[in-house]
Symmetry: C2
């Protein structure tokens, strides 16, 4: 009998997953949580968990963080991500964090059960749609978001808010030159020729 824990902020989804999994005699839903924090408090004291079905978008903490914690506290516990996000970068990020599988919420019930078993067997499991996304050629992929430093993100936000370099410099207590250097570096990272393009790029990548 395998112990399963479900973490998802939608009670309806928890109910659905539970119903689908309980149909299988080999699986036992041991506990469910609607917040990452509640689950993380439970985790250290809990007995061994075979697999965690984890939603990425939780109201309190990021799913990435939750996954990291699981792997830290109980490396043998498998993590199967159940998410709405179909961006390749996110899927990869979760796998790098130690997740063993990735399902989209529109996966069929058969896929769900199959994936849970595959993961329990030590395999890496994806739903059909995720498989398609991961194997799709890269050509018309949206450009990967460049890595921004903390400061750069901060400055970017302020530029997008319509602030001038001078006013940003004042607020951050740095020289105006510094702010302009940040701006220039941002434009270079985004391959933008001017502020307008910079903001558009950033907006397109949900960075605002």
């Amino acid at each position: 009998m395998n112990n399963i824990v479900i973490v998802d902020d939608h009670p309806i989804v928890i109910e659905g997953l539970s119903a689908l999994l309980q149909a299988d005699k080999a699986l036992e839903v041991a506990a469910t949580f609607t917040t990452g924090q509640a689950f993380l408090s439970f985790l250290p004291g809990a007995g061994f968990i075979d697999i965690v079905l984890l939603d990425i978008t939780l109201p309190d903490i990021n799913g990435v963080e939750v996954c990291k914690q699981i792997k830290k506290i109980s490396p043998e516990t498998k993590v199967l991500i159940i998410s709405n996000h179909s961006e390749r970068s996110i899927i990869l990020q979760m796998l790098q964090q130690g997740a063993s599988g990735y399902l989209l919420k529109n996966a069929s019930s058969e896929e769900l059960v199959r994936c849970v078993h595959d993961v329990l067997d030590g395999k890496v499991a994806f739903s059909a749609e995720v498989m398609t996304i991961m194997t799709r050629p890269l050509q018309n992929e949206p450009k990967a978001a460049p890595h921004l430093t903390k400061r750069e993100k901060q400055v970017l936000g302020m530029i997008a808010a319509g602030r001038t370099s001078a006013s940003i410099a004042e607020e951050l207590c740095v020289s105006q030159f510094t702010v302009e250097t940040h701006r220039r570096n941002l434009m270079q990272k985004f391959e933008a020729g001017n502020t307008a393009a910079l903001i558009r790029m950033a907006a397109a990548q949900q960075l605002l």
Copy 2:
């Protein structure tokens, strides 16, 4: 015994809703569908349906359209929207289409059952969060998108692409002054102090 139909493209959600509703003896899930088209084909020949739990975002047709069709074919059938969208405009739009209630997917199971009963009783039902959204004062509502003329939209797009006024003027075969006047009017309409803010506003309103 009330007849329920569930339309949602996520099998997991269907499963969850079914499990929660079947617990109530007064409710019977008569059928479920993962596409709007499948449901609409079924609808005319089907017996009387008391209530449809309807997801707005379906892979094939828009939930608005589905709702409209339900009300056309069977006006007495209640529609309870189950959605991820928490924008006031969308909620209002569904109510105008004849929906009797609106739930967010993160609603608790109690709320779900309560709302189903309320709707069956002829009331209009919202989950707590939707209630909060609908009664929240308008002040920090996102500003309605200003009306833009064709030319303004065109210029806006080109500005966002990082073009300078001069280059835009050349492409449009108008004077640089004209482009700058357009830009100024755009900034005024968006209440933006400079190009960066303009692009951010436009991006926030999906105008790019």
